[in-house]
């Protein structure tokens, strides 16, 4: 069905339509909405942990609700960030392969960092050292 709506040059280029623009827009708004309360929770909690020693910090993170919220917040943060960075890269980089390389690198970095954060929270839960 998409082919009927494609211009000849887009067919020649073979890159297809943007297709998922609406999904991007919606995901950006949804993650933003989720981050509003999550960030309030996070900042309030961190302020409460100022001056706390390692044991207290680890114990706080290990509380189930805190771990769940932390992992959720981090995942949503990286998702939201990737959506935003994609827009930024697409705005300023127009050479196809450069744009693609930067976007892929950013995406991989985001995924790796998100997984690292989840790993760290799990590690804290299982007790360090």
């Amino acid at each position: 069905m998409n082919d009927r709506l494609r211009s000849p040059i887009s067919r020649a280029r073979g890159l297809g339509s943007a297709k998922s623009g609406t999904a991007h827009f919606w995901a950006q708004r949804l993650t933003a909405l989720a981050l509003a309360p999550l960030l309030i929770w996070f900042i309030a909690s961190i302020v409460g942990l100022v001056g706390a020693g390692h044991a207290e910090v680890a114990a706080w993170i290990a509380i189930p609700l805190n771990s769940v919220l932390f992992i959720t917040m981090t995942a949503v943060l990286f998702w939201h960030s990737m959506l935003g960075m994609q827009v930024i890269v697409e705005d300023y980089l127009h050479e196809n392969w450069v744009k693609l390389a930067v976007l892929i690198t950013l995406k991989f970095a985001h995924v790796l960092l998100a997984v690292t954060a989840v790993y760290a929270v799990l590690r804290i839960n299982l007790g360090s050292q």
């Binding site: 708004r29 933003a32 909405l33 981050l35 509003a36 960030l39 900042i43 961190i46 302020v47 100022v50 020693g53 390692h54 044991a55 910090v57 680890a58 993170i61 981090t74 943060l77 990286f78 960030s81 935003g84 960075m85 930024i88 127009h94 050479e95 196809n96 960092l113 690292t116 954060a117 790993y119 760290a120 929270v121 590690r123 804290i124 360090s128 050292q129």
Partner: protein, 129 residues
């Protein structure tokens, strides 16, 4: 497809700066800055997972002049991005587009950012928050 080498007409040097313009580009700039802050967050999580010694050295950095400066900028960036983000969400549902309203909501974002940053730091530095 590379960018053409033809000259652009001047824009930033000519156009009168408005709050709306400033907040728009600041939304992008704070977004990128917050991504760097995310990096710090992951490092912090890893430090907690690694044990008291690692957390201690990270805290030494964070309570030093560079660390405090970074955290201050980060707090400011979070609230600006969050406040302006909410302003964007209102626009998404169609509210607030008239220039006067956009200016007023823009000022509200600035006031909120300064206020929230101040309150957060006051609490963090030992207020009865």
């Amino acid at each position: 497809m590379t960018q053409s080498q033809r000259p652009l007409s001047p824009h930033l040097q000519i156009y009168r700066w408005e709050l709306t313009m400033a907040l728009s580009i600041l939304q992008r700039i704070t977004g990128v800055a917050l991504l760097l802050g995310l990096l710090l967050l992951v490092i912090w999580l890893l430090s907690v997972a690694a044990g008291p010694a690692r957390l201690e050295s990270l805290n030494e950095f964070l309570t030093g002049p560079v660390g405090i400066a970074m955290l201050l900028v980060w707090t400011f960036a979070v609230y600006l991005h969050l406040g302006n983000g909410l302003r964007h969400l209102f626009w998404d549902i169609g509210w607030g587009f008239s220039l006067n309203t956009a200016r007023r909501s823009g000022w509200a974002v600035v006031v909120f950012t300064l206020f929230a940053t101040a309150v957060t730091w006051w609490c963090a530095l030992g207020g009865t928050g």
